[in-house]
Symmetry: C2
Subunit: 349 residues, 2 copies
Amino acid sequence: MLTGVKEIARRANVSTGTVDRVLHNRTGVSEATKNKILAIMKELDYQPNILARRLASKKVLRFASLIPSVSAETEYWDAPIKGIEMAEAEIKQFGIVIDKYFYDQNDKQSFVKQSNNILKTPIDGILVAPIFIEESLAFSKLCNLKKIPQVFINSDIPNESRLSYIGPDLFQSGHLSAHMVNYLVASGDKILIVNISKEIDSYHHLMRKEEGFIAYFKDHQKKVKIIKTDITPDTDYPSVAKRLTEVLTEHTDVKAIFVTNSRVFSVAQFLQKTNQEHIFLVGYDFLPGSIEHLKNGVIDFLICQKPQEQAYKGIMALYQNVVLNGDVEPTYFMPIDVITKENYTSYRN
Amino acid sequence: MLTGVKEIARRANVSTGTVDRVLHNRTGVSEATKNKILAIMKELDYQPNILARRLASKKVLRFASLIPSVSAETEYWDAPIKGIEMAEAEIKQFGIVIDKYFYDQNDKQSFVKQSNNILKTPIDGILVAPIFIEESLAFSKLCNLKKIPQVFINSDIPNESRLSYIGPDLFQSGHLSAHMVNYLVASGDKILIVNISKEIDSYHHLMRKEEGFIAYFKDHQKKVKIIKTDITPDTDYPSVAKRLTEVLTEHTDVKAIFVTNSRVFSVAQFLQKTNQEHIFLVGYDFLPGSIEHLKNGVIDFLICQKPQEQAYKGIMALYQNVVLNGDVEPTYFMPIDVITKENYTSYRN
DNA sequence: CTGAAAGCGCTTACAG
DNA sequence: CTGAAAGCGCTTACAG
C-alpha cells in the first residue's frame, strides 16, 4: 500500500499503467516521467509483488531444456529429466512451462537441429548440456543476440556469456578419484586409466578428469605407475572386453583402474567375468548397473555429482533470473560425492 | 475460469463466499450445500490457485524454529540458521514469517521454556531439533493437540506423529565411517572410538553411530580391536587432552580414531600438538576448525550431512504442507557425505 | 446459513 | 505519450 505501484503512481502524478510501463522498460514513456518514476521507485526501494504480477499477467513463460536423449548407454540422462520435472512441478503455478528437447549424444547435427528448433519458438530461458563445444558456442551466441538467458549443466563452455554453469569441477573430481585410489594402492603399484567414449568431442570432458587424476600423483610422495587406454569409437561390451583383455595381458600387475565416466559398469562386468575382482575399481555416476557392482564389491568407489540436482538447480536459476529478477551465481560447482557400498542407499542422485 | 471458485459457485448455485467456506472447512454452511460443492470440486479436480490465495489473504503464516543456540562448542548450529534464512527469503513473498527460538544444548530447562514460549503465540508450523527426548516428546504432544505440524531435523524421536524427519540415518553413518576406516587399517589393528559430550542425553544420538561403526567390523573378514572412551561431562580442550593422553599411553598402538561428533577438531588439535599425526582420524561435520585439520592431513575424513540443507528442507516441508496442502515424506534421510582434502572446497554444508 | 461487493497488487487492452 | 477501467482467482468483512 505504501510502496506499491499505486503509491508510486500517486507520488508521480501518473497512472499505474505508466508506472507499469517503466517497470518493464517498455516504450512510450517520456524521459521526464520515466526518470521521475525511477527516482520514486528507488526512494521507496520498490519490490514488485511477484504473486500479483504472475496472477495478473496472462503471459506464460517458456523455458526450454536441451540435453542428450536417454538410451541404454546413456541412462545417465534420466536423472536430469527428473530434475527438470521436479522444478517444473514447483514453478508451474507461476505460469511457467518447460519444453523439453533432446539430442543424440553421438550426433552433432541432432544438436544443431534441435537448437534451431528451439530458436523458432518464443522462449524466455534455456537449460542446456553443451556437450559439443563449437555447436554450443554458436547456439549460445544466437541466444545472446535474442537476449535469452542460458544455464549450462554437466560441462561448461569456456569464455562464454551464459547466465550460469551448474555442474562438476572436472579437474577436482579427477583429483579426488586419485585421492581415493591412493588409499587402495601402495608405492610402485600400477594404475590404469580408461576412457570409454564414442565421440572424440566428449574427450574434452574426460580429459579434464584424467588431468586431475594424474596431477594428484605427480607431486605425491607415493610413486605409482600410471598407464592409460582409450576405448573408441566402439564402446559396446565386446569392444571394451577385447581392449581390456589386451591391456591386462600386457600389464598383469595392474592394481587399480580408474574409469573416467559412467561406463565403469562395463569394466566391472569384465572384471567379474574374468575373475579379476581383486583389481580396485573407481568410476563415475550413480547408475543401477554400477550400483550392483558396488554392492557386490567389484566397484570400490563411484564419484557422483547429482545430475538430477544440476538440472533442478538449473531450471530454478532461470526462474530466479527471469521471474524474480534475482541474481544468479555464474558458476556453481556441485559437491563431489563419494559413493560406497555403505552410503549408496541414502544417496540422492 | 473453467475450474475456479467462480465456476464452482455457478454450478452449485451459490456465491463464491460459500465455496470459500467449504474450501477452508469453515463453519456456517449447511450439510446439503457443502456436499454439493464438495462433489463439484471433486468432479472438476479443483486445484486452488496459491498465488491468488496468498495475494487475497492478508493473514500471515508463522513458522517457528527451535534449535540449539550457537556457541564456540556448537558452531555446528550456524548452518541450520542459514538454511532457515534461505528458506525464509524464498517464501516470505508468500506472507510467511519465521520466528527463531534457541535453546541451550546443555540445559533441558531452556528447551522446555522456549517450547512453552512458542506455544503462547499463534503458530502454523514448527521446525525443531529434538535433542532432549522426553521434553521433545511432551512438546510434540502439545503441538499435536493444537494441530500444529512439526518437522524434526538432526535427530529423530521414535514413535511420534510428526509431519517429517529430515536428517541423518545415524546407524548408517557410523557404518560408513567404519568402511572408510577399513581402508586405513590392517587386520589386527587397534581402533579407538571417542564420544565427547556434555549431556548424557545426547548419547542416544552418538550411540547409534557407535553401534553402526561396531556392526561394520563385527561381520567383516578384517579383524580389528575396538576400544572406546567417553569424555564427559567436561569437554573443554584440557579435558579432552588429558583423557586422550591416558588412553594413548595405555594403548600405544592405536592406528585410527573415530570421533562420533564434530568435536573431532579437539582430537585433531591434540594429535597435532603431540606429534601423533600418523594416527588416522575420522569424525563428523564441516566446521572451519576441522577443515583446517583436513587440509593439513591430521583429519583423514569427515562425515557430513548438510545441516544447512536439513533446515532448509525442513522449512520447505512445512511450506509444502501448510501453504500448498501437499504431501511430505515422513522420513527423509540425508545423503551421508564423505569429505576429504580433495573435495571440501566444493562442499555445500 | 448465505450473498454481494470490495480488495489483494499487479497487468492488459483500449481509447485518446 | 498517457489514463481509466477491467480483470487475474481468490479472501474478507459486512449485511441479512
